[in-house]
């Protein structure tokens, strides 16, 4: 302890050990906290997915009772979305934004610390409900009433933890916006910002506009359950479907929160390894903004089967289909960036390429889902599960992995092992398809989602999917091993780790200094 105190006095009162991490206001420290936390949550959520896949390996119940299966499905989704993917993106934002715009740190460092430290507490609260006598939440991550109102003691805990997660996201988003709008180096106009910065700016806007709506929705669940309000009860003049409207008004922008930063990452990596400038920068920005704006008027495509009036169904079908246009612009821009480039295929590039292909496949199935009369068949089957895992796993998660490989040398000053990285890529890509592609088939053949047991004709594809899931999980152990190996090395990486990389972060030494830019660089 005394050593600590001496140390404190020397370097800006910097505490060490655990206290350093608890009290840090540094964007790199906080970024690392976010990223490690997200990796942990990915494994926790992944283990739950493995429980699901193990039970679904064969028809009949082998391991868990139906009630627990539903808890696994619900928790898996909540953990993956709020615990793994969103924090990973915030972690990347923390590391990269100040470096990319030439700032010393985030604009509101103490708030930054707060938005991180809410997470472990909120997730402890959320996960602890699994050990309650009445179990954890089991109504799906969408928490539809009246079913969610039947939950046991876990319900207020789940709702409060979601409130906290929402608060954390809002604070994080406010920080991102303040940083981008206020901390750019002189000369960096908005239309000169790196595209990753743009996608995060727009994502932050989506977060601030949508998370409070979720908070409102779940608050109404709480009062309906405990204080006799009747928002979601017909007998009192309410409607269970009202919850779905409010939830998806949040929920649909949420799925773009999970993909826009990924678009930004891919738009950074593709030019770097094509050694050619990003094609159509301006249209990329406009496309991102259009996707964000459209995302607020498409929500009811998740509710085509609730019996909306015909005009509503048509409206939401059309607006949903429209999203394919700006998303298409992005895909075409990526392809045009590669066109006549000079490409090499290091691990980040491989993941980015796989992203483009597999995300597009997920987008295509999304478009099929948008066709209302066809969605009457697809809805709540494994076809939907296949769709969203294609956009989330080889979509969002691949982009995160690509970003880690891409910026790791900048963060640590150490280069990962390229051969192992490539092996990781191929295993991951092969297994992800073995896991999720067959889900299209069983979905079309009629297997509903959120069931612990199924009719025997669905067996074969479920077995394949389960094998794939375990393979995918093992491949991620390799990822951790690669990270471990990299961190054990001495510092050797060049300041500019990739030949084609562009951006202010590559002008800093590797590893990047604690306070990124003490004096703002000049951008012209």
């Amino acid at each position: 302890m005394s050593a600590n105190i001496d140390h404190l006095k020397e370097e800006h009162h910097q505490p060490s050990g655990l206290m350093r991490w608890i009290t840090t206001t540094n964007h790199k420290d906080i970024g690392s906290l976010y990223l490690w936390f997200s990796l942990l949550m990915f494994f926790v959520g992944g283990l739950m997915a493995l429980v699901i896949r193990a039970e679904l390996f064969q028809p009949g119940l082998q391991f868990v009772v139906p009630g627990f299966f539903n808890q696994m499905t619900t928790m898996h989704a909540l953990i993956m979305i709020f615990g793994a993917v969103m924090p990973a993106f915030v972690g990347l934002a923390n590391w990269q934004l100040p470096m990319m715009i030439g700032a010393p740190d985030m604009a509101l460092p103490r708030l930054n610390n707060w938005s991180f430290w809410i997470l472990p507490f909120a997730f402890t609260m959320l996960l602890s409900t699994l050990f309650f006598e009445s179990g954890g939440p089991a109504a799906g991550w969408t928490l539809y009433p009246p079913l969610s109102l039947q939950g046991g003691n876990s319900m207020p805990f789940v709702i409060f933890s979601l409130h906290l997660l929402g608060a954390s996201s809002i604070l994080g988003a406010i920080n991102v916006i303040a940083t981008i709008l206020n901390m750019r180096a002189p000369g960096m106009t908005l239309m000169k910002m790196p595209i990753f910065v743009w996608t995060w700016l727009i994502t932050a806007f989506l977060l601030i506009a949508s998370m409070p709506v979720l908070a409102g929705a779940i608050t109404m669940l709480l009062t309906d359950r405990f204080y006799g309000t009747s928002f979601f009860t017909a007998a009192g003049g309410g409607d269970p479907v009202l919850f779905q409207h409010i939830f998806w008004f949040f929920g649909h922008p949420e799925v773009y929160i999970l993909i826009l930063p990924a678009f930004g990452i891919v738009s950074t990596i593709i030019p770097a390894f094509s050694r050619k400038k990003l094609f159509g920068y301006d249209s990329m920005v406009y496309a991102t903004a259009s996707i964000a704006l459209l995302s607020f008027i498409v929500w009811a495509h998740h509710m085509f089967t609730v019996g909306m009036p015909l005009a509503g169904e048509i409206f939401f079908m059309f607006t949903t289909m429209l999203i394919a246009v700006p998303t298409g612009v992005k895909v075409f821009n990526w392809v045009a960036t590669m066109w006549k480039g000079s490409m090499t295929f290091e691990t980040p590039m491989l993941f980015a390429l796989a992203f483009i292909i597999l995300f597009t496949i997920g987008g295509f199935s999304g478009l099929m889902l948008a066709i209302t009369p066809a969605d009457f068949q697809y809805h709540d089957t494994y076809f939907v599960v296949a769709h969203f895992h294609y956009v989330l796993v080889p979509g969002a998660v691949f982009a995160i992995i690509a970003a880690v490989y891409y910026w790791l040398p900048k963060w640590t000053g150490k280069m990962y092992n390229e051969t192992l990285g490539k092996i990781h890529f191929w295993m991951t890509t092969i297994f992800v398809n073995i896991t999720f592609f067959p889900m299209h088939f069983v979905g079309l053949a009629g297997m509903p989602r959120r069931i612990p047991d199924y009719a025997v004709q669905f067996t074969d594809f479920n077995m394949i999917a389960s094998v794939g899931a375990f393979g995918f999980g093992l491949s991620q152990l390799l990822f951790v091993y690669i990270l471990f190996l990299t961190l054990r090395q001495p510092v050797t990486a060049a300041d500019k780790s990739w030949e084609g990389a562009e951006g202010l972060e590559w002008t800093l030494p590797s590893p990047a200094p604690y306070h990124s830019f003490d004096t703002p660089p000049k951008v012209d």
């Binding site: 430290w117 805990f157 409130h163 998370m211 309000t229 007998a235």
Partner: protein, 285 residues
Amino acid sequence: MSGSSYYVPHETKWPFLATVALIVMFIGLANYMNDESNLTLTYTGLALLLLVVYGWFSYVVNESEGGLYDAQVDMSFRWGMAWFIFSEVMFFAAFFGALYYARELSLPWLAGEGTKVSTNQELWPTFENVWPSNGPANYGGDFVVMKAAGIPALNTIILLISGLTVTWAHHGLKEGKRNQLILGLLATVLLGFIFVGFQAYEYSHAYNDLNLKMTSGMYGSTFYMLTGFHGFHVTLGAIMLTVILFRCIKGHFTNENHFGFEAVAWYWHFVDVVWLGLFVFVYWL
């Protein structure tokens, strides 16, 4: 405006403590809702939270008074506050959305309008849609509606005036008229608390005399949810104004540099605007 002078704070313990306080409070509240405990834990968490807020803000105020913040830091705070208020707007939007849905969609449907003829015929054959409504099952029994003309109209005037007084105080601050500043703020704070007082009276009147309760179907639900969260925000705003009042008395702000004042004034205007929405859509129409 260069980044080199940007103030990056060193380590801090407040956010972590704030989280601990919040968690204690929420665990207490959840247990209370589940009928597993009384409110002791909740109040402990709340007290802790207040302490942390006090500590955190004093720290920031000291830094500010110590001249550590430049114009760029000031700007970061402004963006932060502005977007925070926007998030609050969206929070209220959820409840306004629920009100809209009930009045324009769910209640007419239950009464057999639009495509839901069978809903009415098969399930609620006697139900007719007249707003305010507590639904086809007459939840909570008959009740009397809160009229817009009485206290709500008075409260509207109170809040509108308080919006003016806070602006008047702001002018006082900018022009260095200290008395105008303090008087204006004092008036605003008083008006704020009077508003809350009136609303508390209104609630007890509604519960005791009008049989208008949270349990009074959709009308009761939306009424209490909207006015309740609004009242909570007014209370918060009035407390923040009080803090600012004390800071003004202490002479914390200069005519150039007074973001703390402005942030709270923005917040107050936001609360004001939400009330106008409430007055129109909850009480009046």
